[in-house]
Symmetry: D2
Subunit: 356 residues, 4 copies
């Protein structure tokens, strides 16, 4: 077993212990399969209440790529593509799962509109409403573009792959454009808990639920063993969602395992508490890094922190710390990522700072 | 919570407690993702040893349909189809997941060759080597069939969807034909543990591993929370299996959860012990049913037992027992399924027999 | 060049000469591409008039498999399958093009309901309304079949692959059931002209247009160089059909070549005249075969005639005649197919009969 | 009929008259279907000879998008993508046909390496060997990119969508890199004839055939009614190409129509003669445009000429000339395209110049 302190990613630990306890408690209950059970129902009810969307449909899937692929197949026609930032997870890091399902990912530049980075953090990884508007205007304008791929829906991630966040105003603008062009807006919330609890966000869960057509609340990276809770905020439009999910190999036999986990996460605001822990330890880390004179690569308001480190220092660090390699900065420096999570201890951060 | 005694299926309970214990023990270990961890390696090693196939490649996926879809996409060319019994799970009960991936399921009659049901149980649900041979001879014979779907691989399930089992001789014959036509043989072992421990089988795990090109050892139905261990017995032929798995949404982020489970199941022969429990309770049940004069619908040598019950009796049973509806028998009778599993208690069977 | 007399199929000749003449006349006209031209418009208008469906949408595609694949993708959802006779072209002879597009072909027995073969010919190759009703009742009945493939549309061919024809009553019954279950009915008319002009049919073009949701009028086999005219009788429901067609590689750049051909075929009832020629020569051939004592394999009322011939005779025939091999009948006999077409001369038939 | 002079595209006319004559001559010959005939064989032989590739496999398909989709499906694995310029036809103008078949189009910047535009024309629309090398080095370098799409083949068009051409050196460099990384190189030659006959190219048909793994010789835009001749220069690697073609709806029943056309085009160097006509008329046009003071948008060495025209002038032109709208240049100017072709008359160009 690797004994180094680990900040390599936010999915290297199991689950909030209460989740394993409840799995153990219910282990022999004999529960119906495929998400038709009471735990899934209870979890869905709690989520709908937290979102303020009583008419929503909630499904529980296992992982992120699977969820993105299945939702997008539900949202758009086979001849339509999905608009995303060029750095979006579906564009860059899902091994072509969206194209495998037949859809082009139509990319936009990866910069948002809000440039007050002091207040909101970096805008890398986001799309700008203006860019989206231009794309849709050009496509659906006067000329006939029937030989091109129709932009059928819009994908955003929040936090983005760079840990950055949309402002409420940005989300409202994007949502407004989607409404205008009657195309659905889908928000990938694989790390949603960390976005919601950022100290530099004005976006709440209810805001998201009211501004997008579908989003998911990430469990895998925020305290669950696995699982993503998909919320179709106004109800699902696919006539038969279950066979679509099944056809994508995404229907878990023991679906209650997902229900149980989200029921736990949405009891007594646990999901938010877990999010807060990652934020507080990340802030502690960032302050420490700054004090020590490290150069921050991009100003992330959530649990992922990107730092520029000399290769020399890195070699030393390797002995005691696990981190994420992000990219080469120059011949002598590297950008690395430290990720805190729902279970990071302040003591871990302090030890890391000492090692730095 | 439903308080009725349940024999409705073999995936209504959680997992062998040792599995939850180990998940709890390792919960904060900080383990690498995507199946690159030591638990997956250890589980794969134990499985390769149990199979007698040191050159095998082992992958851990989450559920059955996902596994069938992903393996078949690895095995055959886009223009090829897969041969299966008309009752095969991929042909009938996966919402078209195989066709969604572009492949035709080419069906054969669902009866095996061994008719000594006294000795081996019913042959329903199997394919016969002779039928397979005829299909391949006709297709690859003199005439050109380039406008038809090429039979690119053969799928069998063991136990079948009816709980029935191939004999060693049958498997050898099918394997021989596949070799002759150079098409791979794939065995779906979603309930493999129950097949291996049947009192009426001459087929061992090593037999299977030596006769097929790829198979999977079902965990979801045999003591795991979820998970299927895929064994490419001679090594995987796909150059890059990970992106294929990822593209199918089948790459679990916390892959060690699968490794941990199979490592547990293949320690101290636990997998076989769990299989044996289901068989012993199923045999107890069958004997009891026979003694009580119930008519057995088909003679299953594994954990699923199919009985013909009068509709009147059924109405009474509904109050205290959960079972699986199989099909209408006649206007007054119904075929139902009782499934025992890795955790079924003898006391449960006795209580069920009393209720019957 | 093979100098033997040919009855091997109905797509071995070019086109009605008037078609080549018009292509030559218009060769330098400079016409807009992709079917947006006046010839396509004119052809569509004539077809809508002949069908009695002023609200229809008409598209011109190049070949049969392409047309079946594209229409089916337009008609049904990705998770739905299409119902067809087990002998249907899409089920058996299109190299898996439908499954390649993600859809299961759900097969029914290949026998119709009308058994008065004296009056209507054989019923092989058709589906029976009763079988269709049972399938849909079973599927959409009480039980939940979300793990199975939804029957999303029905495919029939007329004439069938065996040259047989539905009666008007049969078509009405099938149409009625489709309406009841709200699933579209699609008729493959690759050989429609030969069906419409059969001496033993009570089905007209207008009947078909009023009973099905979409069908196509085959050109490739009935006097055109290539081309199939797709008629969505009540208008197309796909919001953007052109990108769907383009995405299937089915949008011909010089679309006017299709328009020109169908404009010619639907001027002065040429399409029907061409159909009649094949029927008259086929009847002449059948009468001659019967007189000579040949055993007719199945009683086809259209241009394909199936005969049982001794292998000895066949060897002799091979020298002077080209025919289609259909299937082995017994060790000493073979079923062969003679196909007449829009250009078959009575003299050819007479010569063939002499050779027999 | 639109009486305006037309330079709107190179697929608005039928075919070189000799082609229609031969179709008429052979109209009743009774020829075998699906490309198995003597005309296809003869055409393939002539093409292989012209290419200097005796071991090549040649297939004839109907249109460009269909050809790109089918070839790419043959070339790469389902989990692989294809590299192309961001302006490549497959990336931008095929309605997502490549993604529909499951593959990501991985885009590179659209500028080549040779910047001597005086000598070779503009480099827009091409990819640069250096960009390709960087992409492949990054991907196949040290780090593991199994969560990204594997670059499985490279697509280039020659002429490009902007009428520009690779130099021999550029092709050699790209070819060399592909060989180094063992990924096939595919050249889209929809307008190949116009590229080969450019006055500013040093690339011959044999050069192409020796440098790429597969390419196609465009017929639709260069003198044929329709048709693209696909040349796998070292033989096709797909074990069963015909079912793949069929499955894509791309197997023309009367395949000899394609064979006849390419046999004609490759008799007495007709294909090159047709290419030359377009080049000569395009040069005449460009010279005239320059003399009249028009600003050339990009310097194309082939049959497509791009000019910047004031919107005022355009309004006037609309009455007498058909041209292609390319893009808005500024508020008062527009970029338009004039395309000459195999049949453009010098008199047409002179009349156009007068109107300008």
């Amino acid at each position: 077993m690797d004994k180094r302190i680990s900040f390599s990613s936010d999915y290297t630990k199991g689950a909030r212990p209460r989740i394993l306890e409840r799995m153990t408690e219910t282990n022999f209950e004999q529960i119906d399969g495929y998400g038709t059970d009471e735990y899934c129902k209870s979890a869905a009810d709690k989520i709908k209440k937290a979102c303020g969307t009583p008419d929503a449909d909630v499904f529980f899937l296992v992982g992120g790529t699977q969820t993105n692929q299945t939702i997008i197949d539900m949202l758009i026609q086979p001849y339509e593509g999905i608009v995303a930032a060029s750095t979006g997870h579906i564009a860059a890091h899902e091994a072509g799962a969206i194209e495998h399902a037949g859809h082009k990912v139509i990319t936009l530049p990866c910069h948002g509109e809000e440039k007050d980075t002091e207040k909101y953090g970096s805008d890398i990884g986001k799309i700008a409403a203006a860019d989206l508007k231009k794309l849709l205007e050009d496509f659906y304008g006067d000329a006939n573009h029937e030989h091109m791929v129709f932009p059928g829906a819009v994908y955003i991630s929040h936090p983005t792959e760079y840990g950055t966040l949309y402002t409420k105003k940005e989300l409202e603008n994007i949502s407004q454009i989607c409404k205008e062009y009657k195309i659905p807006l889908f928000l990938d919330g694989a790390r949603l808990g960390y976005g919601l609890m950022s100290k530099r966000t004005d976006v709440s869960l209810k805001d998201i639920a009211s501004l997008v057509d579908v989003f998911y609340i990430g469990g895998t990276k925020v305290g669950a063993l696995f699982g993503e809770a998909v919320v179709f905020t106004k109800g699902v439009t696919t006539k038969h969602p279950i066979p679509v999910i099944k056809q994508h190999g995404a229907l878990l036999a023991k679906g209650w395992l997902l229900g149980l986990q989200f029921d736990t996460l949405f009891t007594d605001d646990l999901y938010f508490e877990l999010g807060r822990n990652a934020i507080e330890t990340a802030e502690l880390l960032k302050d420490g890094l700054k004090k020590k004179g490290y150069e921050i690569f991009l100003d992330s308001p959530t649990n992922q922190q990107f730092v520029i480190v000399s290769n020399e220092k890195l070699k030393e660090l390797d002995k005691n710390v696990r981190y994420g390699f992000w990219e080469k900065y120059d011949d002598n420096h590297t950008v690395i990522r430290f990720a805190t999570d729902w279970a990071t201890q302040k003591a871990d951060v302090e030890r890391l700072l000492e090692l730095l």
